[in-house]
């Protein structure tokens, strides 16, 4: 118990880093993922091909390798990135690959008649996406996007491999200096669980809000 008390500030800081990694790469991943998802359903062959290739590569290779490629690999090409930005970059690229598929599923779930109604008014494409398609697509895509956010929160632990002191790395450090691995990792696990419980509560509230019109 005294371990937790003594190392509490470190753990709290590490939890902050975990949150930073998860939230920032989720937000960036959503933006990139939405664009990739749109490209994926585009009628321009080149865009569509690029999107398919992107998803194939970033979803088909381990996140740990992507993180290490960014942090250890890129310097060989003269590109040096700090540990935290490296981790965020890799997490973003990886999350976007999955999220793009969630967005795509949401968009294709929107009834064709909705597009036609908007088209028949002469609504411009981007306006139609924003006003008509997106609100309906998000509602369908929200559950898998929520799951992806939670998975991403846990995936941030891989940033420990590139010296980022987030929850997992902090627990490991505390464990190795005190030999109280059990306590250290259990506390870290509890912290992840707390974060993710908050996320799923938030998701539930958002789902109810978006579902109001359909009740």
């Amino acid at each position: 118990m005294d371990l937790i008390v003594r190392d509490f500030p470190d753990l709290l800081r590490a939890m902050g880093v975990t949150l930073l990694l998860g939230v920032v790469s989720f937000v960036l991943g959503c933006i990139l993922g939405a664009l990739v998802g749109l490209a994926r359903i585009s009628r321009f062959r080149l865009l569509k091909g690029l999107a398919i290739a992107y998803v194939s590569v970033f979803r088909g290779t381990p996140l740990l390798i992507q993180i290490m490629l960014v942090y250890y690999g890129l310097p060989q090409l003269g590109i040096l990135i700090e540990p935290i930005p490296s981790a965020i970059l890799a997490l973003t690229l990886y999350a976007a690959a999955y999220l793009s598929e969630n967005f795509r599923a949401g968009i294709i779930a929107v009834d064709r008649g909705q597009w036609e109604a908007a088209h028949s008014m002469g609504m411009p494409y981007w306006r139609m996406l924003r006003r008509i398609v997106a609100p309906q697509a998000i509602r369908v895509a929200l559950p898998p996007i929520g799951s992806r956010f939670i998975a991403l929160m846990k995936d941030t632990s891989l940033a420990s491999a590139v010296t980022v002191v987030e929850l997992t790395r902090a627990a490991e450090t505390i464990g190795s200096s005190t030999f109280r691995y059990m306590e250290a990792f259990l506390v870290a696990a509890a912290a992840y669980w707390l974060i993710n419980t908050a996320l799923s509560l938030g998701q539930g509230a958002l789902e109810r809000r978006l579902g109001r019109a359909y009740a």
Binding site: G113, S120, M121, G122, A213, A215
Partner: protein
Amino acid sequence: MNTTDQPGTPGRTDSPIHISGLHKRFGALEVLKGVDLTVARGEVVVVMGPSGSGKTTLIRCMNLLEEPDAGTVAVCGCSVECGDRARRRERARQVREIRHRTAMVFQQFNLFPHLTALGNVAEGPLSVRRMPRADAEALARRLLDRVGLADKAAEYPARLSGGQKQRVAIARALAMEPEVVLFDEPTSALDPELHAEVLQVMRELARDGMTMVVVTHEVEFAREVSDRVVFMDGGVVLEEGPPREFLSRPAHPRAQAFLRLVAHDLPEQGADGDGPDKPTRWEQAS
């Protein structure tokens, strides 16, 4: 005849719709095999025909929701030469212009489920006509009132009956202040007892002088409201004429056969005491 001019519509031409030599195929299936049709301002044209005759495709070509393979679609002064791949950009502008000047009412309503009835009607004025929100909502309220749904402004489509949904959809179409309203089987998805309220709104619209093209099997509506019935089969217009003539003495055998099917309950059965202004019977062959 509905020849009263709609106030406020610019008199660009006397025939807002002029279609010629229209061809459309879906893969191996040729749906339109050279259709010509002209609709005069203020005219109400009913398009009838058996399922698969091409009538829905025809009306969807009028606002280019379907792109014809060949032919000319000229709507409200904007002309699109189809099958000409070269001038995409210019055509996209023409298409948008046509869609601004027409409005469509769909069989499945296609209301936006995430918006209230008011939001649905105000969306076009807001998003397309760039009206200030207060003006768009005031217009939407007036139109909802016109279709008899002023009290449903705050309801989401999920809470409305089919007939109410279709009336909201008509209000939404009118909010674009179109020169022409295209109706694609507006009552076909409704329970029989809900047809009347929708037809009543359409009848009032016709009386106000709106140019309308209506794909429907509603024989009674065609008889009372339309100026002309166009009968399609096999991708061509087989016959057209004033409703009373066409509906009582169709010339073409296939038109005769079709009318026997859709108008199976003729006047002697329709004694349900409605006034002459109300549709007394509806098409039940679905």
